[in-house]
């Protein structure tokens, strides 16, 4: 597998600094999103260099010093950044050992490395630290063989997460916590609806309020900067009530979203076409699946911090892509690359393209009015839910023809959705405020990554099962009433739900156990292994009522995951237990993987049973946690994760693998518990009742 991280950044000094004081500085272009990736990467470096993990210092990513590794997304951080660091460290280790061999006058093969000390048993020695100034890393160096997994001592163990001590002590670690000298508090008054235009605003009252330093208006972008946070909030409220907006309806009907999605202008892409002549049809199966728009709903509203110093701009952001945000800011502000630095600072949990980049650009615009003073912008909860990019609403139609023997003859899967990618970086995906200023940039409808990069709407739309006669298509909308972009697992959430629901239905039609039915259509041993492991651990077939299973290999080339859900349905769908088997290839940090798998499963449970972004003709109306409830402690079932370690296979990523299979397992378990196939998400009492007519 090609690794863009190392291809684009071959020089080892981009990644590592070995210091004479015994510290190894590691610069990854991937960022900590709460997934624990910096700890996993530190383990890989410590392992490959043979140094104690305590010597590793992970440098937060910044455009002034870090390798460009694009976005931290798609469950690719351990495969890409981990793979690059492994290769770089193997090369650097070999270089140091060769230098030591030359100095000591012994063959390199006789030397061992132990916590950075290099020597032969009972012989003279040296160390990385002694040789640090003598070995040049600012050049491309030859490939070297990395360690065999059988020799791993640090990879595969649970090391304490590097970021946890600060977080449990309440120390300053999040972007929201930074208070650089002279910092001012900025707040933005967002338009009241999607197409609202600011006609006039009386800024005087706000300007006269205590602590207000600046009011900024540019077109329909309006904000305030103040000395104290509460001053900024008061001035924001005062400004809001002093605005005259022109508004109009621009959104489709929430009640008939499927009709809008399947009739709006769209671009069709064929993802798979293996149709043949077909045979006798005994049972045609047709089913439509839907999901609503979903919100990221991170516990922290997005935050940005910016400082203008003459014509130089510094930005601190919890973005997923420091270089992409850098490119967007440079373009919108007409600055040269060297005038801008974007530094990553942790925010709250990130599950895809949220409003982090937008908040950074708000800070840029507000800070421009107060040179030499850093300005921090924190979004309101309401803005976070109503203006952040959304996970796209989707429709999936599946049509299947089955022959009299129960064999599938034809499998057709059509996806209607807005694109799942409008990340910053390229033109056409402007930061939110750049679409509100007077010289507004135009946002193009979100795109979809090509299937070879995992796809977007069509992610996991092509079944992994041996099914003949496939036709799989996406219909990506070329109009975008609500801004959509990447959210954990992208289209895989509904695509896997749909495929697994229909496969379950076919198993019932054929009178075959659903696990057995799937196994008959799967030749991939690793796929079979997770299905069998999940079924066995969950007590599949022992008579427990309300069990359902779901399976997918993420992106059809990432981690394998099978989930068994146990569901009880009275007035509400209640998930009583989740049992998960997962194969992520080589496991770097076992409890880190389990945490990601559990987290993905519980987030999917929340989406699948509860969540739905509400909107009217003009704007999103899910404004608070009361309008957009997410899973609470009392609703969280036990989650049991079986980790199938494959030390000799490449790491496949863990962040998104459990999302689709969990959703599917819950839907199938609901059928097992009630006999109802509920195909409209979320599985609320209304949607369950509506399914009774089907």
């Amino acid at each position: 597998m090609t690794n863009p991280s190392i291809q684009n950044n071959p020089r080892p000094d981009r990644w590592l600094t070995i210091r004479s004081d015994g510290v190894v500085l590691v610069r990854s272009g991937k960022v900590e999103l709460g997934q624990g990736v910096l700890t996993a990467l530190a383990q890989i470096v410590a392992e490959e260099l043979d140094v104690d993990p305590s010597r590793i210092s992970m440098v937060p990513a910044g455009t002034d010093q870090s390798p460009d590794e694009s976005y931290t997304a798609g469950s690719m951080s351990v495969p890409h950044s981990g793979g690059a660091l492994r290769a770089v460290c193997a090369r650097v280790r070999a270089l140091f050992v060769a230098e030591a061999a030359a100095r000591l006058g012994v063959p390199a093969e006789s030397l061992r490395v132990s916590d950075g000390a290099i020597g032969a048993p009972d012989g003279p020695g040296t160390s990385y630290w002694e040789l640090a100034d003598a070995v040049a890393l600012d050049r491309e160096i030859p490939d070297a063989v990395a360690k065999a997994p059988a020799d791993y001592r640090i990879v595969g163990q649970d090391l304490p997460r590097l970021d946890l001590p600060d977080k449990v002590a309440g120390r300053r670690r999040f972007l929201h916590d930074l208070r650089p000298h002279g910092m001012l508090f900025g707040r933005v008054v967002r338009p009241p609806s999607r197409s609202a235009v600011l006609m006039s605003v009386d800024e005087d009252a706000a300007r006269r309020m205590p602590g207000v330093v600046a009011v900024v208006r540019d077109g329909s972008f309006l904000g305030v900067v103040a000395e104290r946070e509460e001053d900024a909030l008061r001035a924001q409220a005062a400004l809001r009530s002093a605005c005259a907006w022109e508004e109009e309806d621009s959104l489709p009907s929430e009640r008939d979203l499927a009709a809008f999605l399947t009739s709006a202008p769209a671009e069709e892409t064929v993802l798979a076409d293996t149709r043949g002549d077909g045979g006798a049809v005994a049972h045609p199966v047709r089913a439509r699946f839907t999901r609503p728009y979903l919100a990221h709903a991170s516990i922290a509203p997005s935050c940005g911090l910016a400082l203008w110093d003459g014509d130089r701009l510094s930005v601190w952001s919890h973005t997923q892509g420091i270089y992409k945000l850098h490119a967007s800011i440079c373009r919108s502000q007409r600055l040269a690359a060297e005038q801008v630095v974007v530094q990553h600072v942790e925010g709250a949990g990130c599950y895809g393209h949220n409003a982090a980049d937008d908040a950074a650009y708000d800070a840029v615009l507000l800070a421009r009015a107060v040179p030499d003073r850093p300005v921090q912008v924190v979004w309101t909860r309401e803005d976070e839910l109503t203006w952040g990019p959304l996970g796209p609403a989707m429709v999936v139609d599946v049509e299947v023809d089955v022959d009299p023997a129960g064999q599938v003859q034809r499998w057709q899967h059509d996806v209607w959705s807005n694109g799942h990618a409008s990340r910053p970086g390229p033109p056409g995906a402007p930061l939110l405020a750049a679409t509100h200023v007077a010289s507004a940039e135009t946002a193009l409808p979100a795109g979809d990554p090509p299937l070879q990069n995992g796809g977007g709407s069509g992610r996991n739309a092509v079944p992994l099962y041996d099914l003949p006669g496939q036709l799989v298509r996406t219909h990506r909308l070329t109009t975008m009433p609500l801004r959509t972009s990447a959210m954990r697992a992208l289209g895989a959430h509904l695509n896997v739900y749909a495929i697994e629901s229909v496969v379950d239905e076919l198993a019932v039609l054929a009178g075959i156990d659903p696990v057995e039915y799937r196994l008959r259509m799967l030749t991939d041993e690793r796929a079979r292994a997770v299905l069998q492991a999940a079924a066995e651990r969950a007590g599949w077939g022992d008579g427990t009522p309300g069990l359902g299973i779901g399976f997918a290999r993420y992106k059809n080339r990432g981690a394998y995951c099978a989930v068994v859900a146990e569901v009880e349905a009275e007035t509400h769908v209640r998930v009583r237990r989740l049992t998960i088997a997962v194969d992520v290839g080589l496991v770097v940090s076992p409890d880190g993987v389990v945490n990601q798998i559990e987290g993905g499963a519980l987030q999917a449970l929340s989406w699948t049973t509860k969540e739905q972004v509400r909107f009217d003709a003009r704007t999103v109306t899910s404004r608070t946690w009361e309008d957009y409830p997410i899973l609470t402690f009392s609703e969280v079932p036990p989650v049991d994760v079986v980790l199938l370690d494959r030390p000799d296979d490449a790491s496949l990523g863990a962040g998104e693998a459990s999302v689709g299979p969990t959703a599917a397992a819950i839907g199938n378990a609901l059928y097992a518990a009630t006999g109802l196939r509920v195909r409209a998400l979320p599985l609320t009492p209304e949607n369950v009742v509506a399914a009774m007519d089907d």
Partner: protein, 157 residues
């Protein structure tokens, strides 16, 4: 809105005087005047628990509690949970169980759980969940948090 005036409050055992509008939410005084950034802004409406602190031992949403209301009371933030430089047992069990992913909700979880264990040292799994139902976690670390709280009981697991 009223004019700024000196306000006295006791946080983590230390008395502080700040000059601000007494209606200022306690959260902003803690984070911006006292430099105690452990409590977090999550929603501003008391619906998520990220801003929770203890007032005379009871969990309170500091985002919608005006600072005047805590005059003469003992405020405890996550920074004040431990004592004599030693972490609170919960701060240890949260690390042991990796009871968080991003950690933004953690301070609110910790102080709410600390109050729970004071009130109900023998609390069971369901009791922990009930007590934490007002604290939202989006990363899905709930079961780990429950284990960490149970593990911090005087009787241990």
């Amino acid at each position: 809105m009223t004019a700024a005036e000196p306000v006295t409050l006791v946080v983590n055992g230390t008395e502080h005087e700040v000059v601000c509008d007494p209606d200022t939410p306690l959260l902003y005084v803690l984070r911006n005047d006292l430099g105690l950034v452990g409590a977090k802004f999550g929603c501003g409406l008391g619906l998520c628990g990220a801003c929770n602190v203890l007032v005379d031992g009871h969990p309170v949403h500091s985002c919608d509690t005006p600072v005047w209301a805590v005059a003469g009371k003992q405020v405890t933030t996550v920074e004040g949970l431990g004592s004599d430089g030693r972490p609170h047992r919960l701060q240890e069990t949260f690390v042991e169980e990796q009871a968080l992913q991003c950690g933004y909700c953690t301070a609110g979880m910790l102080v709410t759980a600390a109050a729970l264990l004071e009130r109900e040292p023998d609390v069971d799994d369901a009791g922990v969940r009930r007590a934490l139902d007002g604290n939202l976690c989006r990363c899905g670390s709930h079961n780990r948090i429950v284990r960490a709280v149970l593990g911090a009981r005087p009787c241990g697991r």
